[in-house]
């Protein structure tokens, strides 16, 4: 198509030169007009193609108004959701740790008193105990039994509360699932965008991008990656191979 056009242009140009050399201004004007016209029509053709492509691209953008919605509402919303996950898990961990702090002294005190009574009881069985001391031991045992009940009730309540605190997993799990769905949707839309934009930019992949191998990534979700260790033993093996 292009070479055909070139041949035509060349012929018209030669005819123009011939006419000018022959001092035939009328013919020269005619050839000049035909040359300009052919250039103009090509320009119009190009502008037409570009306009049509632009129109199609804009139409494609409009096909999915969800993309605009995603950018305007869902992404900021997701940031909030993820912050919610952080604060909820933090709260649950503190609640559990607080309950543990409250429960440990209860079990410690039960153990300590039991140990003390056991020693006295042993002396009683060995007939090493006087009547007054035995009376005091009886009182001690009586008060201990009441305490066991009281502390056991408290420990039971604390454990129940710890169980309840684990509800964060359900709540945050649901939110994370929503985020996963949203990320999938964003990905699909981005793929569509790349398809539209990529029509004119094929073969311009960026290979030269440098990868920072020690960049912090947080917990590895995919444990099968070859450069990732899966447990403390593998860390220890790697470090000892380095002379650690």
């Amino acid at each position: 198509m292009e070479s055909h056009n070139n041949v035509e242009l060349l012929e018209a140009a030669r005819a123009l030169v011939t006419a000018l050399e022959a001092d035939d201004s009328q013919q020269a004007q005619l050839h000049l007009a035909s040359l300009t016209q052919s250039q103009e029509s090509e320009l119009f053709h190009e502008v037409g193609t570009l306009t049509r492509e632009l129109h199609e691209s804009l139409n494609n953008f409009n096909v999915d108004p969800r993309l605009v919605d995603l950018a305007e509402h869902d992404i900021p919303d997701t940031r909030e959701r993820l912050n919610y996950v952080i604060s909820t898990t933090e709260e649950a961990a503190h609640k559990t740790l607080g309950l543990i702090d409250e429960t440990l002294p209860l079990s410690d005190s039960l153990k300590d008193t039991a140990q003390k009574i056991e020693e006295s009881w042993h002396r009683f069985r060995m007939r090493e105990m006087g009547v007054d001391e035995f009376r005091s031991l009886s009182e001690e045992i009586e008060s201990y039994l009441a305490n066991v009940k009281l502390h056991a009730d408290q420990i039971h309540d604390n454990l129940s509360e710890m169980t309840l605190a684990q509800g964060f997993q359900d709540l945050t799990g649901q939110v994370i699932r929503q985020v996963i769905t949203l990320v999938g949707e964003v990905e699909d839309n981005l793929v569509e965008l790349v398809k539209i934009a990529g029509k004119h930019q094929t073969g311009t992949q960026k290979d030269g991008k440098e990868v920072d191998l020690i960049k912090a990534e947080g917990p590895q979700i995919n444990k099968d990656k070859p450069n990732v260790v899966n447990n403390q033993d593998e860390v220890d093996d790697l470090l000892s191979s380095l002379g650690f």
């Binding site: 933090e90 912090a216 990534e217 990656k225 450069n227």
Partner: protein, 125 residues
Amino acid sequence: MKILIVDDFSTMRRIIKNLLRDLGFNNTTEADDGLTALPILKAGGIDFLVTDWNMPGMQGIDLLKTVRADEALSSMPVLMVTAETKREQIIEAAQAGVNGYIVKPFTAATLKDKIDKIFERIDAS
């Protein structure tokens, strides 16, 4: 023995603090990233540093390098407790002079083991 615990998550700081308390280390203080940890370290009185890697502000690996480059702090034992598990990262930490590397989630026994080993090496040298 005063220990500085550096982690951006307060829950993890609390877990480490509680585990250290069970191991008999009652004197601990906390910071939430490298930038807040450095002034505490430079003020003196810290004998042992436990740090996470992935933190906003200054990351644990940069805190480690800064500590090693500081004349007054260079011999400070540093234990890294982190979810970062790439081989390149562990090698980087080792080359930067970390004394121990624990991956999360970890157990109380692992923490005790690594701390014992660090002090064994210090006592031996």
